[in-house]
């Protein structure tokens, strides 16, 4: 019961904050509500017993990535007239219709007979062979044992991204 109440609370928070991101005119309000959205989403992750990912979500997304966004918004310092008129064109209507249709299809598939109603397992009783489900030990084992190559490639990707960001933003070296 508590789980259901928390889920609906966090879900409403995620959707309201996410809607603020795309409907607010000033990007700084959008960035701040995106931080709120990520915090609510971390709560949803805890409900899914993904404790490590929830902490990573707060540290990497709400911490590092959003600081970068806020920093760039402050750096550009857009005036009210530079934000531009939001025009409403036929292409936007078509795009919105495509979005609604695809979400309808996805939800219809998800609500279909794919899940015949599995027996409920409480999150606290979820254990793997290596510690609690979603804990540091269990997830770390998967990352370092069965996906070492993606892990190393990711580290290379981050290095390339750091160099690329500096080169692109700097203009002249």
């Amino acid at each position: 019961m508590v789980e259901a109440v928390l889920f609906y609370l966090f879900a409403v928070g995620v959707l309201v904050a996410g809607a603020q991101v795309i409907f607010r005119r000033n990007p700084i309000y959008g960035a701040l509500s995106l931080v709120g959205c990520f915090f609510f989403l971390a709560g949803i992750y805890v409900l899914l017993a993904a404790h490590l990912i929830a902490i990573l979500q707060i540290m990497v997304y709400a911490g590092a990535v959003m600081v970068l966004f806020v920093f760039v918004i402050m750096l550009l310092n857009l005036k009210e007239e530079e934000l531009g008129e939001e025009r409403f064109t036929a292409w936007k209507v078509i795009g919105l219709a495509a979005v609604v249709t695809s979400v309808g299809v996805i939800s219809w598939r998800a609500l279909g007979p794919a899940y015949p109603g599995a027996p409920h397992v409480d999150n606290a009783t979820l254990v793997t062979q290596r510690g609690p489900f979603g804990g540091v030990k269990a997830v770390g084992y998967v990352i370092y044992m069965s996906s070492v190559l993606p892990f190393e490639v990711t580290s290379l990707l981050l290095l390339v991204a750091v160099v690329a960001a500096v080169v692109v933003a700097k203009g002249k070296i």
Partner: protein, 113 residues
Amino acid sequence: MDFFHQHQAQHYLVLASLLFALGAAGVVLRRNAIIVLMSIELMLNAVNLTFLAFSRFPLVPNSPMGSFLSGHAAVFFVIATAAAEAAVGLAIIIAVFRSRTSVNVDEFDTLKL
């Protein structure tokens, strides 16, 4: 068993699809490049949510718990890639703003035929 626990996986999947819709609508509707990037982050988070939902509620019945933790590993890599994407994307926005003094994606039409 109440309604939420009976259809727990569906709750998470529908929430993820709604969040993805918000992100996609942001990319389609908004012309501000920074908000377009933030909408892409929303879509990536929706994908993360489906990964975790399928990891917690696997489709294969009677499977040992923990054999689907690779979903968590996938989310880990998506978070790292999203951080790299945000850094490069914001650098591109700054570079374009320097030459065009605008972040309106409608005005970035040099490559248009």
